[in-house]
């Protein structure tokens, strides 16, 4: 690839002092390639914002302007249900009521509860796999891990039947239960960290008469807060973005989450002239909680993606 061919020779770099890296044609070309890749990554996000701040009908007159066309907050107001149907139709919206706040609430409930349950119960199990002695422990752990090989859709079909037979379709318990107790990945992830905690502290606590519950809550959990928060964020993002399962189980307004609602919203837009500003505003608002979470915990998220990030 052009990007690596032109980089400076290793010998030159070894010879140069680390703080004064050689500037030459190769390095510049490599940076240019890097910047192009970053632009390809980021520009669509800007275009999302630019479109959301435009007036839908005016987009046709100037499809390439880098700035919003006919600037307005109208699209956001439409999505958030703050504009009247008349206003909405005038700006190119459908005028139909959008239950954005309800879907937002549903997404928050679904993602928060699944994440909380999954991380907590997985932590309990990980403790038993990492710190307790019992026969068959490593065999059971291995069996748990093999579940990583099962494609989600393969168990999603029978799980749908189970949830249906339990009468839990279109309820939060139905949405949440399959993800609530564990994932093999969460147990695997936490077990790695629990294994790394020094045994001496635990032994000392035992001498003082502390039981396993006390050790778990007072020693293991506080000492592993960093990986636990990382796992929490990663799981929350995964659940927030989940589409297939909520599509199957949560299809009425009361339980419909944002991803599913966006899909419906998109399929309802007229073929001829979709409300692009409205669609982009909706998409942006739906992504916002994750973007905020990301900017708050960027370093944690980025650093957690190594071999731990494989799921």
């Amino acid at each position: 690839m052009a990007t690596t061919t032109t980089a400076p020779s290793r010998a030159a770099e070894v010879a140069a002092k680390p703080e004064a890296k050689r500037i030459n044609a190769g390095r510049i070309a490599a940076w240019v390639a890097m910047i192009i890749l970053i632009l390809i990554t980021l520009f669509p996000f800007y275009w999302m914002l630019r479109t959301a701040l435009s007036t839908s009908k005016s987009l046709f007159s100037d499809p390439t302007s880098l700035m919003p066309v006919d600037f307005t907050w109208g699209a956001f107001k439409r999505v958030l249900g703050l504009s009247t149907p008349v206003q909405a139709i005038a700006e190119g919206g459908s005028g139909a009521a959008v239950n954005f706040w309800l879907f937002l609430r549903n997404s928050i409930v679904y993602a928060t509860l699944t994440t909380a349950g999954q991380v907590f119960f997985s932590a309990l199990a990980a403790y038993a796999f990492a710190r307790l002695r019992w026969p068959g422990r490593d065999k059971v752990f291995f069996i748990f891990l093999t579940a990583l090989m099962i494609p989600p859709i393969f168990v999603a079909l029978p799980n749908f039947i189970l949830i249906k037979n339990l009468g839990l379709l279109n309820t939060f318990p139905g949405l949440i239960l399959p993800y609530f107790f564990m994932t093999p990945f969460a147990i695997f992830f936490l077990r790695q960290f629990f294994l790394g905690i020094s045994k001496e502290i635990e032994e000392a606590a035992k001498l003082d008469g502390a039981g396993h519950w006390l050790i778990f809550f007072r020693i293991i959990l506080p000492m592993s807060w960093a990986p636990i928060i990382t796992l929490f964020i990663l799981t929350f993002i995964t659940q927030w973005n989940e589409y297939f399962w909520p599509l199957l189980v949560g299809s009425n307004d009361k339980t419909r989450v944002l991803t599913v609602a966006l899909g419906v919203f998109r399929s309802q837009t007229p073929q001829g002239s979709p409300d692009w500003a409205g669609l982009m505003a909706a998409v942006l608002v739906a992504a916002l909680p994750i973007l905020i979470l990301f900017f708050a915990f960027a370093k944690k998220i980025v650093n957690s993606i190594g071999f731990s990030g494989m799921k």
């Binding site: 990554t41 275009w47 589409y243 982009m280 993606i305 071999f307």
Partner: protein, 313 residues
């Protein structure tokens, strides 16, 4: 920062397999252990083990979701092998996987090597990761707009340089490549970070020794980086290929299988059979086939790429 210690711990222990603490397992904590793993065990048995076997059972039944499943032996499978739409779904899915994985792997390795060589900045890694954090649904809708035939930015650009506009999602020949590229955009940063973590396991002295012997950066990439990256790349490929075979969200939001059957990928076909047409037994048979394909592909990859062995002796 405590977070900086996250990666090495996991990476180091990953290789040591699944063995636990060094203490020999005794009977000691069995009662306590049962209590600790009970919730996870219930979740595992009810939502993984039970549906796993039940999935195979449903594939041997006729089941329209309303009544009870009716055992019919291997009829679904005989029907399946004569179903043109099944073979179409398989071909379309493989086409998607090939385009998606080839592009994504090349770009991810390029990004990872560039980052490794140019900057260790967390900000750059964060920016590269950004598309992965939004959902497939959002990425699909965003590109549906960028690639719109009438006033999408990409088509405006194509028209501006004097070419014919392309109906990216509406043209049978373009639908699958388009969906594949949209998902490359979403996943390449994440894959790059996995590869990047792999690059960091290659010790610097290997490069220094090569440099002393007069190796150029280009030669070092092919003779050192790629061979030493192989076990990690193999694991990354198993993950990305398995994921890629299960493409659904993007299709469901944009083309819904069309135009015609041009983008009716496996998982979308399963979904339609099971939930739109109410042929749940048949859908289960399809998902058994998908599962077998995925397991075979994963085993084949691990064998071919010798994922378990490292050349770094």
């Amino acid at each position: 920062m405590t977070t900086d210690t996250v990666e090495p711990v996991v990476a180091a222990d990953y290789k040591s397999g699944i063995r636990g603490t060094d203490r020999p397992p005794g009977r000691g904590d069995l009662g306590m252990a049962l209590i600790f793993i009970l919730p996870a065990l219930i979740g595992f048995l009810v939502f993984y083990v039970y549906p796993f076997f039940r999935g195979f059972y449903f594939s041997l039944t006729r089941y329209n979701l309303l009544g009870t499943p009716h055992y019919i032996g291997f009829d679904n499978f005989t029907k399946l092998f004569q179903d043109k739409l099944f073979w179409n779904a398989l071909v379309v899915t493989v086409e998607y996987v090939v385009i998606n994985i080839v592009l994504q792997t090349i770009l991810a390795v390029a990004i990872a090597v560039l980052m490794h060589r140019l900057t260790q900045s967390t900000v750059v890694r964060g920016l590269i990761l950004l598309p992965f954090l939004i959902s497939n649904v959002i990425a699909a809708m965003l590109w549906f707009w960028l690639l719109d035939y009438q006033i999408g930015l990409v088509n405006e650009f194509i028209a501006a340089i004097g070419l014919n506009k392309i109906a990216f999602f509406g043209d049978a020949a373009w639908a699958i490549p388009t969906i594949a590229v949209v998902n490359v955009w979403r996943h390449m940063g994440y894959t790059a970070l996995l590869v990047f973590a792999g690059l960091q396991t290659i010790p610097g002295y290997v490069y220094e020794a090569a440099a002393v012997d007069g190796s150029t950066e280009w030669k070092s990439f092919w003779r050192i980086t790629l061979p030493l990256l192989r076990p990690i790349l193999a694991l990354v490929l198993v993950i990305t290929v398995t994921g890629s075979f299960q493409v659904f969200d993007t299709v469901a939001v944009t083309t819904r299988g069309g135009p015609g059957n041009a983008s009716r990928v496996m998982q979308y076909y399963i979904y339609q059979k099971g939930f739109t047409e109410g042929q749940f037994g048949y859908a289960s048979a399809l998902s058994v086939i998908l599962f077998i394909i995925l397991a075979a592909v994963a085993l084949f990859q691990l064998r071919i790429l010798r994922a378990g062995e490292s050349d770094l002796a």
